[in-house]
């Protein structure tokens, strides 16, 4: 019998939802009130002028800043031109990130002062070589889609580390990168380096190979550096992440809905300003949102609130139709251990299930102070599992397999059936580092813990020789930009070795 069952096998992806549409709207209109009545403090004259010219109210102007209040209609206008899709590609065009509703991409986190040495296990300050090696790990992991430095080059000049950091990343990875910059000069230098990498400005227009990470300060404060970076990105067609990092109980209300309202108000200001500067400017909003631990005062990367807030915010950005910056694969553990695996797994799951777009901080430990290759490798496998869960259970005559059941009959088995032979590899997930042997075989193979197998994989990747990603001439040209930057800023450095 033919029955019209049009879309019965769609919606196979399991859905996770934190906020209803009504709740999202309540938060949105509350954020509009915050922007209009409380306002945001802007520490850049040019930014204030752009907002003012667009209709904002400017009050309480001091030498350094003004209070800017944004009427609702300015947000509506900005929403009309802000892109619902942002694309960042890898320099060889082999990798592509298309950021829009429900498209999930996982990647690293940036600028960790410390790192866990992969050979000694020691926690120490990170170096140029570490940044390069973290990039190489990222290149080797199939579920790692974009990169952030997972270190700071602290054996280079400090004030211009961002250029060296970018160079180190380009040496190790050809996936899209989310960079940081000291200031707009740092962005400009890295843009020059990117032009060299892709072959010029016109090539960049065909697909930017980095986005810039910009972080306003909560609550409701937009520094000069932040605003200048935003304006520079708009003027130069650089997509950017505009994300506050509010802390429940410290720099945001302790009640989570209040934090979401504040975070949204902070991000919306970025949207308003960018669209005023250049309609169609590409940004990704979001945040690292979490609670302050009220005993240790740390910023919690592994807490249930962090996972919940990020997911709730994703619901909001899906409704807004703006690409989103999410957070996962991170932990407050100081080393890669049971805690880091557990916290990372939970937030990876919630981020994937909610459909976060640019899900960053894979590999982050110690509340964002320390990077770990083991955390990256373990997270890669967790992401793989989550992706399997997200494939859901399609319900079709073929997948219900009534005819197969009929053939096998009560008491039979399916192991030799054609249906199993044809489907088992695509239907069922297979682990890489997760162990499924029986006890005897596991024991004979060395009775290894999961952490040991992850560690072995890290070393394996580091010691596998790969083709250099940069030709010598190109590398030298880019290094020259770094050296020139160092020379220009030499007087700002301390006349002593700061670290290492």
């Amino acid at each position: 019998m033919m029955v019209n069952r049009n879309n019965y096998d769609v919606n196979a992806t399991p859905l996770f939802q934190v906020l209803t549409e009504d709740q999202i709207e309540a938060i949105y209109y509350a954020a509009l009130s915050v922007l209009y009545e409380t306002g945001v403090r802007v520490y850049d004259k040019e930014g204030v002028d752009v907002a003012h010219a667009g209709g904002a109210i400017v009050e309480e102007t001091t030498e350094r800043s003004s209070l800017v209040k944004v009427p609702h209609y300015m947000v509506d206008k900005a929403r009309a031109t802000v892109p619902s899709k942002v694309v960042v590609i890898g320099p060889d065009r082999q990798y592509k990130m298309e950021l829009y509703k429900n498209q999930i991409y996982y990647g690293g986190g940036s600028d960790t002062p410390f790192t866990i040495d992969p050979y000694t296990g020691q926690r120490r300050r990170s170096t140029y070589n570490d940044v390069k090696n973290f990039a190489r790990i990222g290149q080797a992991l199939p579920n790692y889609d974009f990169h952030m430095s997972l270190g700071i080059t602290q054996d280079t000049a400090v004030g211009t580390y961002d250029r060296w950091q970018y160079l180190a990343m380009l040496e190790g990875i050809s996936k899209p990168i989310n960079i940081t910059a000291v200031d707009i000069e740092g962005v400009r230098d890295q843009l020059e380096m990117a032009y060299i990498r892709v072959g010029g400005k016109e090539e960049w227009k065909k697909g930017p190979i980095f986005s810039l990470y910009i972080e306003p300060v909560s609550p409701l404060s937009h520094s000069q550096e932040v605003i200048q970076k935003l304006l520079f990105c708009c003027d130069n067609d650089i997509p950017f992440v505009y994300t506050p990092c509010p802390l429940a109980g410290a720099t945001a209300p302790t009640t989570l809905a209040g934090l979401l309202v504040q975070a949204l108000a902070e991000s919306l200001f970025g949207i308003v300003l960018s669209q005023l500067r250049k309609p169609g400017s590409q940004l990704i909003i979001g945040g690292l949102m979490s609670n302050m631990d009220m005993l240790s005062t740390i910023y919690c990367y592994g807490s249930p609130e962090m996972a919940l807030l990020s997911a709730g915010y994703t619901d909001i950005t899906k409704w807004l139709r703006v690409p989103e910056y999410e957070t996962a694969g991170c932990s407050d553990a100081k080393i890669f251990d049971e805690q880091s695996a557990m916290e990372g797994a939970i937030n990876i799951a919630t981020a994937g299930l909610i459909g976060g777009n640019m899900i960053h901080d894979v590999g982050y430990l110690d509340s964002g102070l320390t990077s770990s290759m083991e955390q990256m490798v373990a997270s890669n496998e967790v992401i793989d599992m989550i992706k399997r869960i997200l494939r859901g259970i399609p319900v079709t005559p073929e997948t219900m397999a009534l005819d197969v059941m009929e053939q096998v009959g009560p008491g039979g088995h399916f192991m030799e059936h054609d249906h199993t032979y044809e489907r088992f590899k695509t239907e069922i997930w297979r682990p890489q580092l997760i162990d499924r042997q029986n006890w005897e075989n596991w024991n004979m193979a060395g009775a290894k813990r999961y952490g040991e197998r992850v560690h072995e994989r890290v070393i394996e990747i580091l010691e596998t020789e790969t083709e250099p990603l940069l030709e010598d001439a190109m590398f030298k040209e880019m290094r020259r930009i770094c050296e020139l930057a160092d020379a220009r800023h030499k007087s700002e450095e301390l006349d002593m070795k700061m670290f290492v």
């Binding site: 700071i152 004030g159 300060v217 240790s296 005062t297 700061m498």
Partner: protein, 213 residues
């Protein structure tokens, strides 16, 4: 007599912002010495708060309320203590260095120091070395505390200490530093006198530098 001092200490632990100043006044009216009220009332109370916080029985918002309560009690006694030339509780000048807008950590240290009895002058954030220098000249603190969240702005700590040396002020103050990317090693390298790895440790370090902790 000691009953009222006990009540003051308990009031501090409970964060009784209204009640403690009243009790302090009552203690004065009953003829108790200001210094005694501070030592055996206020400081005993805060000491207990510190103990409970360290074992996880009290939390930051509660500690801050207790600190605020102690501070309100202390304000009443300040003129009397100044008159009698009693022990100086220490003045600390705090700020986030140039290029850095992050101040929640600094604010927390400041509040903890107030709770420890210090006079805290907070100069704000994004401060040029010159601002610290002016602050030292104006307020004559015992300790200068500098904070930074960004690795790039840590350099400003070194520059500020150098500026203090050039202004001939370095030996007039103790310098302590803190913030997420800072560590004891860096503090040593730039010639700071102390390093606080978190807010509580910052207040403890301040006490040590003053010789009272």
């Amino acid at each position: 007599m000691s009953q009222i001092l006990e009540q003051i200490a308990t009031g501090i632990i409970k964060g009784d912002l209204q009640g403690v100043p009243q009790l302090v006044q009552k203690a004065l009216d009953e003829g108790l010495d200001a210094q005694q009220i501070v030592q055996n009332g206020l400081i005993v109370g805060m000491g207990e708060v510190g103990k409970r916080f360290k074992v996880g029985e009290m939390f930051i918002p509660e500690v801050l309320l207790s600190a605020k309560t102690m501070h309100s009690g202390q304000e009443l006694l300040r003129p009397l203590l100044a008159e009698s030339g009693a022990a100086h509780y220490g003045k600390i000048l705090m700020g986030t260095v140039k290029g850095d807008l992050h101040d929640i950590g600094k604010n927390l240290v400041g509040m903890m120091c107030e709770g420890a009895g210090f006079d805290v002058i907070d100069l704000g954030f994004d401060l040029e070395p010159e601002v610290f220098i002016e602050g030292i000249k104006t307020h004559q603190p015992d300790i200068v505390g500098m904070s930074a969240l960004l690795t790039t702005t840590m350099r400003a700590m070194g520059h500020t200490i150098k500026a203090m040396e050039e202004a001939g002020l370095r030996d007039k103050v103790k310098v302590m530093v803190g913030g997420a990317p800072v560590d004891a090693d860096f503090a040593d390298r730039i010639g700071a006198d102390g390093y606080g790895h978190n807010a509580v440790s910052g207040a403890d370090t301040a006490k040590k530098l003053l010789g009272t902790g």
